[in-house]
Amino acid sequence: ARAALRGPRPLAPRRLARALQPQGDRDPAPRRRQLPPEGRYLLSGASDGSAAVFDLKDATEYEAGFIAKHRSILLVDRQHQHGHKFTVSKAIWYPVDTGLFVTASFDNYVKVWDTNSTQVVMDFKMPGKVYSAAMSPIATTHMLIATGSADVQVRLCDIASGAFTHTLSGHHDGIMSLEWSTSSEWILMSGGCDGAIRFWDIRRAGCFLILDQLRSQLGRRPPIIDSTTDNHQKNLGRSSSSKSYSVQQRTGNHKKQSKGLRKSLTMVRGHTQQKVHPGMSSSQNRKTAHYGAVTGLRTTTDGMHLLSSGSDSRLRLWDIDSGCNTLVNFEAMRLQTSKPLQLAVTDDPSLVFIPCMSSIKAYNTWSGTTFQTFRGHYDHVNCCYYNSQDQVSFPSIVLC
């Protein structure tokens, strides 16, 4: 299941276990934790086709004195006239307020619901199972839902008009994960079953960056003040035959790219030929971020780094601006390979949380060392969300 927490800031969706009325149980600490009034409503979607909203602030009952149980305050399931028929793979709040929420399901539909009347306001039919849906948390000029399905194109659905506005082509297989940029309302990142992560500027055609796992840099780049040491490091990391496409690439101090660069922009050699706009990556480009499907994407709140999980059981941390793999190695883990995963990152981004089979592992973002493992679920964990708004005690991670 998928779930989303609502607060003054746009919150990310999350998935819940298959139970209809899941327990919102946190780790049984002797103190009661209070969530501030914002960050209060949790939205979740389940594999039985239902979506539910929970109030995290007021528990409906307490068990054994300190385990809080929360019953859903709103539930739409298969019995509902317009409910989903199959697994709800993603449930997200409308970024502006809790008046609307969006659900995406394996029944090929993406539905927009009015929370108060619990009715479907509009729906969008996709050509295949919908794996992911996302809305930009910082959008002020558009109300687009980016959806990824088993089909190779990312579709943008507009709530304002009820129609599809764009399709983004380039992936060679279905799209399992989507993430909007936290620094620009026009930039979308998609992770496909073909192992590629593509960056799209929705105002233009084509994608402008494809992450390549073989293109690496040693470590995260220091802030601009230290740019002299930074360039030296980048030179070390630059492979002699790398092809770079990004217009955002920093030009200037570092070594000129190999002549392979110009060749990648206009591929006239060979029987396959495709003209590309300068700065755009063609769909012929087969660079991969993972050896397998990209199952999860999460960007840091400062918009500088991107975390990706793949079905090759690797987690990679990317420097968004340079498009390089920082080579941080997150210790061995086995990840679920066929389902989209929801990852979480703390705000300063010091820790990342990954659902890993039946536990959640927290890793130190920059060194990749395991910080802690949270065990308590009886079955596979699909998603996790980090709630940083809890100021009373330590921030809680709502697990599912």
């Binding site: 073989l214 492979s239 050699r269 060979g270 050896y291 397998g292 059981s313 941080v328 190695n329 210790e331």
Partner: protein, 244 residues
């Protein structure tokens, strides 16, 4: 401390990637039926050096310094083998000799490969266009040249993408088969035990039936890939099957 036989327990952790690689290279099992130069699996490296991120970064610099090459194997989704450059060139030499022995046609492609492709392409894979353009530096490169490289075992292709060639270690096929089977055998040995664990020292003495590689090779690999965990006990290191 490089005496004849050293226990795995005493030689599990190293502080430096290059030292770990060199030591594991000397400990590469002596194979009876196949003659091959030593190689080290990336997972084995992870089991021997604490900081994995540092390992990845060191590997990256060693690759760029052309001290070693990394190869993607087809035994698992993220399996990689590391070979020192000299060993790889020796392995290539024997493969080339075998190929020339069968057929002298187009064998100039091997010189082109060694002279133009290897020094400039340090990654694990190369696409068709780039391969052709690099080989063309030596002469008129045709499809039959590429076929010869593939037949000699220097390049392979995967079904997913016909345009992409992967560098491979020639004549390594039977060893890889042993790798997969040996992994299963070691894991089943542990899984059959009541608590799915065994002392490392007794595990090391086992002889495997299905793999030409020794137990220590497989143990390093399985520990590094996270399938086996080691636990320190009063009687020594214990190997246990990993649950999560």
């Amino acid at each position: 401390n490089l005496d004849g036989h050293t226990s795995l327990e005493d030689n599990l952790i190293f502080s430096d990637t290059l030292i770990a690689l060199q030591l594991m290279r000397t400990q590469f099992p002596k194979l009876e039926k196949v003659v091959t130069q030593p190689f080290i699996l990336q997972s084995q490296l992870y089991s021997s050096v604490k900081d994995r991120t540092q390992v990845d970064r060191d590997l990256e610099s060693l690759k760029k310094d052309r001290v070693l090459r990394v190869f993607k194997l087809n035994t698992g989704q993220d399996d990689h083998a590391i070979m020192f450059m000299d060993d790889y060139l020796k392995q290539m030499e024997s493969a080339v000799r075998r190929s020339k022995g069968k057929n002298q046609d187009c064998s100039e492609v091997f010189e082109w490969f060694e002279k133009y492709v290897l020094p400039s392409k340090l990654d694990v894979s190369i696409d068709h266009l780039e391969l052709c353009s690099l080989l063309s530096h030596g002469g008129d490169a045709r499809d039959k040249h590429i076929t010869l490289l593939m037949n000699a075992g220097l390049l392979t292709r995967q079904l997913i993408d016909p345009n992409m060639y992967w560098f491979s270690i020639p004549s390594i096929g039977p060893i890889l088969k042993g790798l997969t089977q040996g992994r299963k055998e070691v894991l089943s040995l542990l899984n059959r035990r009541k608590y799915k664990e065994m002392l490392l020292s007794s595990l090391e003495k086992t002889r495997l039936r299905l793999s030409p590689l020794d137990v220590r090779f497989h143990l390093r690999d399985l520990i590094g890939s996270g399938q086996i965990k080691t636990v320190q006990t009063a009687t020594g290191l214990l190997a246990r099957v990993s649950t999560d």
